[in-house]
């Protein structure tokens, strides 16, 4: 039975890999100091503790006030792999909050972080990409990423990285493409995305299709997509098992077929029958996108002719539960039955 005497010994250290947290508001300044320590083990332990401590948003705000961002920036170029991968994890946690993202931009952490894309440790790269992806989700973060000329680099990485990381890069690119598409087009992103359409992982296919959709928003992108023959694989993906894949493929087709060239290529690839099938899909997004694709295709006379057979099917969709689908169906019917 435990004695009632207060022991002189400290309680047993549950986790020797973590630095002990000082009490109250001394915790963060002390951790900040330890981050800059010369001893490797001190830095590592401080990083582990910091990682767990910063899950609370208030702590993030305080940490940034104390100047943790600067220390982390220095640690990004540390020689020890554990330090680097933990630092990137901490940066990821910080980037999930707005204050953190502001700090990224203030201290210019994007560029050093991007150097870690070439790191030898997988975890470090993965975390770096995760942090970058979080960063790019807000408009000015994406603008920052684009300004740092990271888009061509990311596209290059997309070719030969691990699958998990490919996913993250595709996400990052998705947000960056909303801001600026020139860089990606120049860097040959369309070809890479088209290749990825045949990937064995569904999520990567879906994200690649989504990125093609984003990239095809400007006219150059549409032309590039037609050039690179992205339409046949996209039409193939319309039969894919994964819902997300189908919906993104339909969306991509919808954006590419706005140009006349795209329309005819899609008609050649036989997109209409598949799209008509998808109108009945369970997922509302799929239905919406396929209706949009059908609308663009029916702008062409051949398309309109074929679609006149399926008008009834589309008319049924006007009583759909999703409002967007209803609207899309109405527009589609109107376009199909339009006479010049």
């Amino acid at each position: 039975m435990a004695k009632t005497v207060i022991s002189q010994k400290l309680p047993p250290d549950i986790d020797p890999t973590k630095a002990p947290l000082a009490y109250g508001d001394r915790a963060l300044p002390r951790l900040n100091r330890e981050l800059n320590d010369k001893e490797l083990i001190t830095r590592q332990r401080a990083l582990m503790t910091l990682c767990d401590y910063l899950h609370d948003p208030e702590h993030i705000a305080e940490a940034l006030r104390v100047g943790v961002a600067e220390s982390l920036k220095k640690l990004l170029s540390d020689k020890d792999p554990t330090v680097r991968h933990k630092t990137t994890e901490v940066l990821y946690v910080i980037a999930t909050h707005n204050k953190g993202r502001d700090a990224f931009l203030d201290y210019g952490i994007i560029v050093p972080l991007s150097k870690l894309f070439d790191d030898s440790v997988d975890l470090a790269r993965k975390n770096a990409h995760m942090a970058m992806e979080m960063m790019s989700e807000i408009p000015y973060g994406a603008a920052g990423v684009v300004e740092a000329q990271l888009v061509p680099k990311l596209v290059g990485k997309l070719r030969d990285e691990l699958n998990e990381i490919k996913e993250l890069i595709l996400d990052t690119l998705h947000f960056c493409l909303r801001v600026e598409t020139m860089h990606a087009l120049v860097a040959g992103a369309m070809e890479v995305f088209t290749e990825l359409l045949g990937h064995n992982q569904a999520i990567i296919r879906a994200k690649a299709a989504r990125d093609i959709m984003d990239l095809s928003v400007p006219l150059d992108g549409k032309n590039k997509a037609c050039e690179v023959k992205a339409l046949p694989p996209l039409v193939g993906l319309l039969k894919d098992g994964d819902t997300y894949v189908r919906s993104m493929a339909a969306g991509a087709i919808a954006t590419i077929t706005i140009t006349t060239q795209g329309k005819y290529l899609a008609l050649e690839a036989g997109a209409i029958p598949h799209l008509v099938e998808l109108v009945e899909d369970k997922n509302s997004e799929v239905r919406l996108n396929s209706l949009k694709a059908l609308t663009t295709l029916s702008e062409a006379p051949e398309g309109r002719k074929e679609l006149l057979n399926h008008v009834d099917l589309i008319k049924k969709r006007m009583e759909d539960e999703s409002e967007a689908v209803v609207k899309a169906a109405t527009i589609a019917v109107r376009v199909i039955t339009w006479k010049p």
Binding site: T259, E285, L288, E299
Partner: protein
Amino acid sequence: MTTVLPQQKEQHGGGTYTFSSRPRAVQQRKKYRDAGQGQDSAALYGNIMYDRRIVRGNTYAQHTLPATAQPDPIEIQRQQEARRRAIARKRAKEQLRPRSPEAVEGRKHIDVQTELYLEELTDRVEEADVETQTDTFLDRPPSPLFIPAKTGKDVATQIYEGDLFDFDIEVKPILEVLVGKTIEQALLEVMEEEELANLRAQQREFEELRNAELVETQRLEEQERRHREEKERRMKQQREVLRKEKETAEKIAARAFAQSYLADLIPSVFGTLADNGYFFDPVERDVESGFMPWLMETVEKAIDKSVLGRTMVDVLIREVVAQRMESFEALQRSIQEMSGGAAPVAKPLEMEAPSFIAEAAPPPEETPAEVPSAEEAPATEGEGEGEQAEEPEGGEDEGEPAEEGGDDAPGEA
């Protein structure tokens, strides 16, 4: 245990310390301590506590024993003197001590006990002899367990069920805290992920709508653009057609006008040309170009001849007049010489002579074209006379002689 200090053979400290304690028989001692001898006996029995050789306390004021074996002679002297002084002091004190006066003669002071209870004054210490003899050697029994004597009071206490605390009740808050913290942590993590997932789902929805809107916008844009282009094209075509029509109409009108304009062009052109003399009758032309010049030349020649004749006549007249003048002048002079006056009479004659000459000059100048023959005439006065004979004959015949005259003139030239 009695301890005995070894007899100090040496005055000074030095050499190894030895200690021995051997059993001694009890000394015969007096009942009462003797004042003087007390020290020595005390010196023989050493108590370690009162041994001056053992250092106690601070050492900064200690007497340090000299290192050398030989004592300093000065030190010895000093000590001896100190001893002598001490003895002297004691003796002095003894003398000063008040004593009772001396006994009267024949009497003696004797100490007498006057207390209630008499005290035996003997020097003999009561002694009792006691014998003891150890037992025969026995095996030493094992030493018993040392159980220290109990000091203090014995107090017992017993905790019964429910006296101290109820574990189940007491553990609850602690458990709650523990479990609560763990669950809170877990909840936080799960919530974080859920938040992220929710955000992503919302993002997806938003993106869905956005994409749809975007596509719609672009499609409408495209449609607009195409319609507009179509319209433009049609309009352009129409315009083209209109333009062509206009052009054609203009062309026709122009053609008609041109035709009408040019209808009477030819006659008028011909008329103008004819008026300007661009069309000629060959015979007429020939007559004009051939015949007329010849005619004119011939006429010229004829006139030249007549002019020449006149000139010749003028020359003749002049010469004659000049000769006459000279002769008249000579006459005049001779008259004057003779008469001495009548100058004015000569003048009218002079006046007339120039007028003859003036008339003779212009006619040759009138026909400058046929000049050669006319100019030659006054120059060649000598031959003029010769020709004069020919001239009248030439003047009569306008035919070949005139030509010869004309030919001669150029020949002479």
